[in-house]
């Protein structure tokens, strides 16, 4: 019995030493992060649908959207061990890129965009947002920890 308790104690001490060294290097599911991805996808789709009209009519809306996208990016960047999601947001909102950031820049430069082009771009941008929400949704949820 004494030896049994000794073995158990050794195992639990080893585990206690093992656990902190292996603290999760992945963030847990975060409702706010998920909401950012979903809400900003909806806002982006709505605004992109207007891109056949002159940009100046929607400039204020575009600026507000850009600020909200930046906010989502900064939130992702601020979470520990969240560099992957932060990189996703960075690519998505980059005005030099070719997703929502680049699309808004192109709309401003070209004034109007063709309906066919904006329809095709909406599909790509929607899928891009889905990669972010898909990753967030795949994270370990708090109730899995119980």
């Amino acid at each position: 019995m004494h030896r049994t308790r000794l073995y158990l104690a050794v195992i639990l001490v080893l585990l206690a030493g093992f656990l902190p060294a292996c603290t999760p290097k992945v963030p847990l599911y975060n409702e706010r992060a998920y909401h950012y991805a979903i809400a900003l996808k909806v806002e982006s789709m709505a605004l992109m649908g207007r891109a056949a009209e002159p940009f100046e009519r929607y400039e204020e809306r575009a600026t507000k959207l850009e600020l909200r996208l930046q906010e989502a990016y900064e939130y992702a960047r601020g979470r520990p061990h969240n560099e992957i999601a932060a990189m996703q947001w960075e690519i998505l909102i980059d005005p030099e890129g070719h997703l929502i950031g680049g699309f808004l820049r192109k709309w401003e430069t070209d004034t109007t965009l063709s309906k066919r082009f904006l329809q095709e771009m909406k599909l790509q941008v929607a899928e891009a947002f889905d990669t972010i929400s898909g990753l967030e949704n795949g994270r370990i949820k708090p109730d899995e920890m119980d």
Partner: protein
Amino acid sequence: MSKFDTFIEDLRGEIKILAREAGKEMAGAALKDSRTFIRKAKKDLERWTRLLAKGDLTADEFEFLVEAKRDLAVMEALKQEGLSRIRVERFRRRLIDLVVSTAFRVFL
């Protein structure tokens, strides 16, 4: 057989099962997602090529869409990397639970 030997034997068997299940899960999910992405990308590129030939897209728009697809591919790859890390973390947690529960079952 001492209790410690029983513990090691039991644990070995359980870990094999856990590792096999986790391995299948990791390989299956990533492969399925990759195939879906490639299939969609191929369809999109074929459609854009047809639209370009018809004059429904300009060369500039076509190029922009192709670049968008490239950016999207990077985002998809990042998602897969992130999900892969999450699966490893889930496996680690299940392993710890397994060690603790086996220890309590054998020794108490």
